[in-house]
């Protein structure tokens, strides 16, 4: 077939399948934090990409420290934890000084957080320089895993995948199995009522927002293994993240997962058969068309106004 042997085609199908899965987990990690912030709270956080960048720079810095103290092999664990905490803290602070005043005006949060993203980009540039930097990866994360001689499964892809699974599981447990999750869901569904039964809704909001930011921080840390870190890195991810969340149906975490999967597979396959940039355009076009027909997204949960 087309001059390729069946074995070749089989190998490519396996690797292509993996690359679709890998893209799925990347999109999922990007979008999870946003799914909480935008989906649950209705806050359009245009600075989401910059929270990822916080995570990325944290990882780069820690890799430098690790290199000088010789714990390069397992610094990533620390990096992810610290990236989460740092992004969480910044998110907590931002919610306190800015976001909480804007809950009634969702479109305005869009503009304000866009402003925030500009400020954060300049802070990154002033403190880390305009040039892109790279975290030195531990030896075990380089290269590929080979089930057969002709199949390469990227180890960093597997790493992102495992991390995405863990984070998704964590978010699920948090939202549906914990007291906090209960409070968050109660607040989202009926703020007044939740307040009336004694939930501190302001605090719930703050922690929820910070949590979303913290997850963005983890995503940023993970992405240092596959892409670049620079002051404007965050802008590369923001539209994709929003498309995933909106396409999935804003308030549904299952929807976010499904939509990340669908978008990733579509884009991955289209990019295989078309040129890369046309593949991307076609995917976006399909999403927009579907959204025009089904504006509430794939998995809409009916919300009380």
């Amino acid at each position: 077939m087309f001059g390729y042997s069946m074995a070749d085609i089989g190998n490519i199908v396996v690797m292509q399948g993996f690359s679709g899965l890998s893209m799925f987990t990347v999109l999922l990690l990007m979008a999870l934090g946003l799914a909480i912030i935008f989906g649950q709270m209705g806050v359009i956080n245009m600075a989401h990409g910059e929270f990822m960048t916080i995570g990325a720079y944290t990882t780069v810095l820690i890799s430098k420290v690790a290199a000088s103290y010789g714990f390069t092999d397992y610094y990533f664990v620390f990096a992810i934890a610290i990236a989460f905490l740092l992004a969480f803290a910044v998110g907590y602070f931002v919610e306190f000084i800015m976001i909480r005043h804007l809950y009634k005006r969702p479109l305005d949060t869009l503009l304000a957080t866009w402003g925030l993203s500009l400020v954060m980009q300049q802070i990154f540039r002033s403190s880390f320089g305009a040039k892109e930097v790279s975290a030195e990866l531990p030896e075990w994360m380089l290269g590929s895993f080979k089930p057969t001689p002709d199949i390469d499964i990227p180890i960093n892809g597997v790493f992102v995948m495992v991390l995405a699974a863990l984070v998704t599981f964590g978010v699920y447990m948090f939202m549906y199995k914990s007291r906090w999750g209960l409070r968050v869901r109660a607040t989202v569904q009926n703020r007044t009522m939740a307040g009336a039964v004694g939930i501190n809704t302001a605090k719930v909001d703050r922690v929820t927002f910070a949590l979303g930011c913290g997850i963005a921080g983890i995503a940023g840390a993970a992405f240092t293994t596959i892409a670049s870190t620079g002051p404007t890195t965050g802008t590369l991810y923001i539209v994709d993240s929003f498309m995933v969340v909106v396409f999935g149906g804003a308030a549904s975490i299952v929807g976010t997962i499904a939509s990340a999967f669908g978008i990733a597979q579509a884009q991955s396959i289209l990019q295989f058969f078309m040129t890369s940039s046309m593949g991307k355009v076609s995917t976006l076009l399909v999403i927009v068309t579907i959204l025009m027909m089904k504006p509430e997204g794939l998995f809409a949960s009916k919300l009380r106004k």
Partner: protein, 412 residues
């Protein structure tokens, strides 16, 4: 040798080099060149100063790349000032930010030429910014020194191109890799804009017509895209002898990291890129690049004395971690060429400066001697560097001098 001693020695050596560079007119004194004579067109030239503009992106996505150029140009200007300036006039820098936005480049170019009346501008990086600013330079008869390697197809009397045009960078490199690696099949991949597309067009013609090889795939990535899984699989399916790459910006980093992770490292795959300099390696990480080749006219690791001095001076001025890429070096040439041109012309008038520069050979260029041709491009050598884990390249091949040919016959 103690640090202070070495520094003193280097300083001496540096000044020596700079004296040599300025030999044409020796020490010029402003009094020998009355302002009324050397400036008949109302440029910002006084008895003691001359204003020169620097126009690059200090903010926005392109700041990543353009910062190095700004630093190199400032360094060159400071060195020129330290040895007395141009015709006895110190250079005053007026720096403008193009903000990675092409229209802003046009606006700022206009400001520099029409409001500040600068005698020359060192600037622009992307083709798009140059294309946007070019009509301004042509209309106001300004002078631009443009440092980036670019796609060619342009020749303006108002611009001197201190980087390579496409054929200089592409042909010799392809010849080398075809001979060295006995390559027959090529996979072309680039970011989706004019420079990679034009370069790939030239590369394809050269591969098909002169090297009698085949192009098994040609791929363009949207600027800023970071997902390469599918593209890499396509490459694996085609199994090319050589990947010929011109991916830029944030995509570049993702491209190399993912390529490596997919098992296509230099032990399995030969790759020649025309878009990776020492600047990019910072973001990509040497371990992801080790063993791949870049075709450039300059590498920081070059061993000639001029380059060693330059690298030393650059690090002293901008920090020991600073790296110098091809474009940074080309940007460094700009002020020196301008100085030479003014001194040859004995005037700051743009028309005379333009006429005076072609034919000049800058012997002390860090990359080695370069000659300005009548088409305003430089005759240079091409070098192939093989990247090491430390982020520096080992020069494995140096071509003969290659004349610039911005409108190559048979490649259009």
């Amino acid at each position: 040798m103690s640090t202070s001693n070495r520094r003193g020695f280097m300083k001496g050596a540096l000044v020596g080099a700079m004296m040599a560079a300025g030999l044409i007119s020796g020490h010029a004194f402003a009094a020998d060149y009355p302002t009324a004579k050397v400036n008949t067109t109302g440029l910002a030239v006084t008895d003691s100063t001359v204003k020169v503009g620097i126009l690059h992106s200090a903010t926005g996505t392109m700041a990543i790349s353009e910062t190095g150029s700004i630093q190199a140009e400032k360094l060159a200007i400071e060195q020129i000032n330290a040895m007395g300036g141009i015709l006895g006039r110190k250079i005053e820098i007026i720096q403008e930010d193009g903000a990675s936005d092409w229209p802003t480049f046009a606006e700022k170019a206009k400001k520099l030429l029409e409001k500040d009346k600068v005698a020359a501008v060192m600037g622009c990086w992307t083709s798009a910014s140059r294309k946007a600013a070019l009509p301004v330079f042509e209309k106001d008869n300004g002078l631009l020194f443009y440092p980036t390697f670019y796609e060619g197809l342009e020749q303006s009397k108002n611009v001197f191109y201190t980087g390579q045009e496409a054929t200089q960078q592409i042909l010799a490199g392809l010849d080398w890799i075809a001979k060295e690696k006995k390559a027959k099949t090529f996979y072309l991949i680039g970011s989706d804009y004019i420079w990679p597309r034009t370069s790939m067009k030239i590369a394809r013609k050269h591969i098909e017509q002169h090297l009698h090889g085949t192009v098994v795939g040609e791929e363009y990535i949207a600027l800023g895209d970071t997902q390469f899984g599918s593209v890499i699989n396509k490459i694996k399916l085609k199994k090319p002898d050589v990947i010929y790459a011109a991916v830029v910006g944030g995509s570049n980093v993702a491209w190399f990291k993912q390529l490596n992770a997919a098992g296509l490292n230099s032990s399995k795959q030969t790759m020649l890129t025309i878009s990776v300099t020492e600047d990019e390696v910072l973001g990509i990480g040497g371990e992801n690049l080790a063993g791949f080749y870049s075709a450039m006219k300059y590498f920081q690791s070059q061993d000639n004395p001029e380059n060693k001095k330059f690298v030393e001076a650059f690090k002293k001025r901008w920090g020991k971690d600073a790296v110098i890429g091809d474009v940074t070096q080309a940007a460094y040439l700009g002020p020196w060429l301008y100085k030479a041109a003014v001194e040859r012309a004995g005037s700051f008038d743009v028309d005379k400066v333009q006429a005076a520069l072609p034919g000049y050979t800058f012997k002390d260029a860090p990359e080695g001697p370069v000659t300005v041709e009548a088409n305003h491009h430089l005759t240079t050598k091409l070098r192939i560097g093989q990247w090491g884990k430390d982020g520096q390249a080992k020069v494995v091949y140096t071509s003969d001098y290659i004349k610039p040919d911005p409108f190559p016959k048979g490649y259009q």
